[in-house]
């Protein structure tokens, strides 16, 4: 996206010094913003390597040597909850959720794009209209529904609704319009491919890049989701990481426990996403930009 070659504009002779001053300021600002973005993570990492005594004693900008002992304590602590259990729970929900949300969004986008049917326009506009409705406003009815069908403390209410994700649908629809020519589908049909087979074996592979991007976003969104899981799950062995963070916060005053362990628990709950991001940041940032080009 940044590789479009613009011709340099505004080449006045007297501009050279102004330009270099502007560049210096730009870099100073960028460094400032970098510090702003990273200082809290830096503190988190440093503090996760220090012992409780060191943390109580004063701040240090340099790491200490208690990383693995903090990790061991945080990993094995079962007093409030078990962190590895929370990581597993969050992972299962996020992994299943991101798979079905991308698959069914692609399927819906394919249906609206490829076929002609009476309610096509209505279906598309309906999804656009409901795209911005916050999940919180239907929470009352959702919680009652979940209780009525006795699915509280299960993960179904956190996974099944991912089938209907209007924003992912919208992204896939934008993408399918530019990547999937109808001729390809007609050709497949002439060759005797069934409609589902055409979708699964011809359309889906063409949509792979878009689906990968949306999968990452859906995974992260689910991993970080706090509101709905907190309403559905109250058994501590089923808690997800965000619920554990909230519990940690509510207990930290009364418990006055090991601060090194607290920092380690926070680190463990964000580190998987950060690692994934470091590998895939190029695609993620590009994905955001593509989603942005709509207005």
């Amino acid at each position: 996206m940044s590789n479009i070659n613009f011709k340099p504009v505004g080449h006045d002779k007297g501009n050279a010094t102004t330009k270099s001053i502007a560049r210096v300021f730009a870099y100073i600002f960028l460094i400032f913003v970098t510090i702003l973005s990273l200082f809290s993570i830096y503190f988190l990492i440093i503090n996760s390597t220090r012992s409780n005594g060191q943390l109580q004693g004063g701040f240090s900008a340099l790491p200490s040597k208690y990383f693995f002992s903090n990790l061991k304590t945080a990993w094995n602590d079962t007093a409030l909850f078990t962190i590895p259990r929370g990581m597993w729970n969050s992972f299962i929900i996020a992994a299943l959720g991101c798979l079905i949300t991308t698959y069914f969004s692609a399927m819906t986008a394919y249906g609206v794009h490829v076929y002609d049917f009476a309610l096509k326009g209505f279906a598309f506009n309906f999804i656009l209209i409901v795209m911005m409705i916050p999940t919180q406003v239907s929470a009352v009815g959702f919680v009652q529904l979940v209780r009525n069908v006795h699915l509280e403390n299960t993960y179904w209410p956190l996974i099944i609704p991912a089938i209907a994700a209007p924003a992912v649908f919208f992204y896939m629809k934008q993408n399918i319009e530019s990547t999937l020519p109808l001729e390809v589908i007609e050709a497949a049909r002439v060759d005797g491919s069934s409609e589902f087979r055409t979708f699964n074996t011809i359309a889906l592979p063409m949509l792979k890049p878009a689906m990968a991007v949306q999968m990452i976003f859906a995974f992260v969104a689910s991993w970080n989701n706090y509101f709905t899981p907190a309403l559905i799950i109250d058994k501590s062995d089923k808690w997800t990481l965000p619920i554990m963070m909230a519990v940690l916060r509510s207990k930290i005053n009364s418990q006055n426990g090991d601060l090194g362990e607290v920092y380690m628990m926070i680190l463990l709950s964000i580190i998987p996403v950060v690692i994934v991001y470091l590998f895939l940041s190029k695609y993620i940032v590009k994905g955001v930009a593509l989603g942005a080009v709509k207005g």
Binding site: V9, A26, Y115, N125, Q136, E195, Y226, V273, V285
Partner: protein, 319 residues
């Protein structure tokens, strides 16, 4: 693209069926039932250990929501104001930073190196779990945390009690929101700026416009649709503010309920009292507010799509 589609109408319905069935069951029906609930008195009375209702009370719950307490306070108005204050305090620096960053990244005369690194860094906070971020800031800014250790230098009466002060509590929450979203907004605005026809900027530069003039007179007006989009979506997000203040204040909205947001209020009704009636009424209000705002977003998307070349802004009324 507007070629005739293949007439296999029934397959169209089959392909969109899973989405619509799940949407109707998991979102639409709960939404309607939330509205329905708002008309009933229905809660668990913890003092008498008994269930009250459901009794039909019409708009009684809404009346109750807007009734002042003994001190003349209307809770829902206070919480709406809290939400908006914290949103604005985060959104203003968010827009200012994003605009500046977007201009820096797209400027050909600055030709900034290391763009990928900077973009990666500023987008990172957006992916971090809000609940963990809130917990982290709580420990960093607590009375025994590193920020206070730096400020006070070990002198106990120099400690700043960040979470007992309205301005600093709200400030920290707004700051986290800002931190989490300015990278995202930057990328949105960059996409907008790069969609602007470069020949306009070149023409203005040849005519002797300074870079400041080009920005104010050309870039900004052409960017306004995407700016409006960014602001409205941010506002909708603002009304949903929940994770950060909920975790930082452990659901209490302290100090003195000054950081209690609308959704925290809604969540409180869903707690032990299971007050579905009042929770429903708060939901309806949030729905109406965000609904009006969403309609603006919908309109901007629809008008953007009907434009044959949505990426290239036209020079309508400019120059």
């Amino acid at each position: 693209m507007k070629r005739k589609s293949i007439s296999y109408a029934k397959w169209g319905y089959i392909f969109i069926a899973p989405f619509f069935i799940v949407f109707l069951v998991c979102t639409f029906y709960p939404l309607l039932s939330t509205f329905y609930n708002s008309l009933f008195e229905n809660y668990w009375d913890a003092s008498t250990f008994s269930q009250v209702g459901p009794n039909f009370v019409g708009l009684g719950n809404f009346k109750k929501l807007f009734t002042a307490d003994a001190k003349g306070n209307v809770d829902i108005l206070t919480y709406t104001a809290n939400t908006m204050i914290m949103w604005i305090a985060g959104a203003i620096p968010q827009l200012a930073f994003s605009l500046l960053l977007a201009v820096i990244f797209t400027s050909t005369s600055l030709n900034v190196k290391g763009q990928t690194f900077f973009k990666t860094v500023i987008y990172l906070p957006n992916l971090i779990m809000a609940a963990a971020f809130a917990m982290l800031f709580f420990t960093l800014f607590s009375n025994v945390g590193p920020i206070n250790q730096i400020i006070s230098g070990g002198v106990s009466d120099k400690i700043v009690d960040f979470f007992n002060n309205v301005v600093t509590s709200r400030g920290i929450i707004a700051f986290i929101n800002f931190l989490m979203w300015f990278g995202n907004t930057t990328i949105m605005l960059m996409a907008g700026i790069m969609g602007i026809d470069q020949s306009l900027l070149e023409a203005a530069a040849i005519d002797g416009a300074t870079s400041g003039q080009v920005f104010r007179k050309i870039t900004l007006p052409l960017l306004s649709p995407i700016l409006v989009y960014v602001i409205i979506t941010s506002l909708i997000g603002g009304f949903q503010m929940y994770d950060v203040p909920q975790v930082i204040t452990s659901g209490l909205g302290n100090p003195n309920r000054s950081t209690m947001t609308l959704i925290m209020y809604l969540n409180r009704f869903l707690g032990t009292t299971k007050n579905y009636g009042m929770a429903g009424a708060v939901s309806v209000l949030v729905f109406i507010i965000t609904g009006i705002l969403s309609f603006g977003v919908y309109r901007s998307i629809v008008s953007g799509r009907s434009d044959p070349k949505p990426k290239k802004s036209k020079s309508k009324g400019v120059l």
